[in-house]
C-alpha cells in the first residue's frame, strides 16, 4: 500500500534533481559570442578592408589615415599600442572593456576605467599596495592616455586642430602607451609625458 507512493516520490525527487542540475548547468554556461571569442583569444578583424591604413609604413601615417577615414572610433580596429606587444589579445581586451567608459561623466568614467583596468581597490595608492606587478596601474595609465587621445580626435573632428597636428599628438600618446605596456619605469616615462604636455600646450592651446 505504502510502497507505491514512496516509489513515485523517490522517482519524482530524482527527476527534479536531474532537471535542476541541467538548468543550472545550461544557465552558467550561457555566454555571448563576444565573451567566447575573448576567452578563445579571437579578435574580430575590421570588416571593411577596402581601404586599410595598416599598409602605411610609419605609425604617424597610419594614424593620419585613420583620422581621415574616421577609423579610430571603430571598436574592431586593433589599437596601435597593442601592435608588437607580447600579449596583444589581452591588450586589445582592455580597450574593448573600456570603450563604454569614455562617454561617462568625470568620476563615473574614472570608476569605469579602473574596473576595466582590473582594479581591486578604489584609489591608486591602495591598488599600488594590492597588486605586486602593478599591471592594473599600467592598464589604467593606458586607458587615461586613451581619454586624451579621444579629446584629440574630437578636436580634429570639430576642425579645431588640423589632421597633421592631431596625428602628431596621437603618435606621441601611442608611443607612451606602448612604453607603459613594455614595462618601462616611472623614470623613463616621466620625460615622455613632459614632451607630450609641451606638445599638448602648443597644439591644443
Amino acid at each position: 500500500m505504502v510502497k507505491r507512493p514512496l516509489h513515485i516520490l523517490a522517482v519524482s525527487l530524482a527527476l527534479i534533481l536531474l532537471a535542476s542540475t541541467i538548468v543550472i548547468a545550461a544557465g552558467s554556461s550561457t555566454k555571448t559570442d563576444k565573451e567566447l571569442s575573448q576567452e578563445n583569444g579571437i579578435i574580430e578583424k575590421p570588416k571593411d578592408t577596402a581601404t586599410s591604413c595598416d599598409n602605411f609604413n610609419t605609425r604617424r601615417d597610419r594614424i593620419q589615415c585613420r583620422l581621415l577615414l574616421n577609423q579610430f572610433n571603430n571598436e574592431n580596429t586593433i589599437d596601435e599600442s597593442c601592435v608588437n606587444i607580447r600579449n596583444q589579445v589581452a591588450c586589445q581586451a582592455i580597450y574593448k572593456e573600456s570603450y563604454k567608459c569614455y562617454d561617462l561623466p568625470g568620476r563615473a568614467k574614472d570608476a569605469c576605467l579602473k574596473r576595466a583596468a582590473g582594479f581591486e581597490k578604489i584609489t591608486l595608492a591602495e591598488q599600488s599596495k594590492a597588486g605586486e606587478d602593478k599591471q592594473q596601474i599600467r592598464n589604467y595609465l593606458v586607458l587615461v592616455l586613451y581619454d586624451l587621445q579621444e579629446k584629440v580626435e574630437d578636436a580634429q573632428e570639430n576642425q579645431e586642430i588640423t589632421t597633421e597636428d592631431a596625428a602628431i599628438l596621437i603618435d606621441k600618446i601611442i608611443e607612451i602607451k606602448q612604453e607603459v605596456l613594455k614595462f618601462r619605469t616611472k623614470g623613463e616615462l616621466k620625460p615622455k609625458m613632459k614632451t607630450l604636455k609641451d606638445l599638448w600646450g602648443t597644439i591644443m592651446k
Binding site: G106, R107, D110, A111, T123, S128, L141, V144, L148, K190
Partner: protein, 66 residues
C-alpha cells in the same frame, strides 16, 4: 528499506541544492561591487578635462614606483 532510500535521496537532494545555492550566492556577491555608494564615489578622480587626465596620469606614474 524503502524509507532508508528515500531519506538518503532527500539528504542528497538537500546537499546538492545547498551546494548550488552557496555557489550562486558567492557568484552574485562577487559580481556586485560593494563600494558603489556615493560616499566612496568621492574617492574616484574627476576626469573632466585634459588637465584632470594629466594629473591622473602623473598620480598613476607615482603609484608605479621606481
Amino acid at each position: 528499506m524503502n524509507k532508508k532510500i528515500i531519506i538518503t535521496l532527500i539528504i542528497i537532494a538537500i546537499l546538492i541544492a545547498s551546494f548550488f545555492l552557496i555557489s550562486y550566492a558567492i557568484d552574485k556577491n562577487s559580481e556586485e561591487p560593494s563600494k558603489s555608494t556615493e560616499e566612496l564615489n568621492i574617492l574616484y578622480t574627476d576626469l573632466q578635462n585634459s588637465q584632470d587626465d594629466f594629473a591622473a596620469i602623473d598620480n598613476a606614474l607615482d603609484a608605479l614606483g621606481d
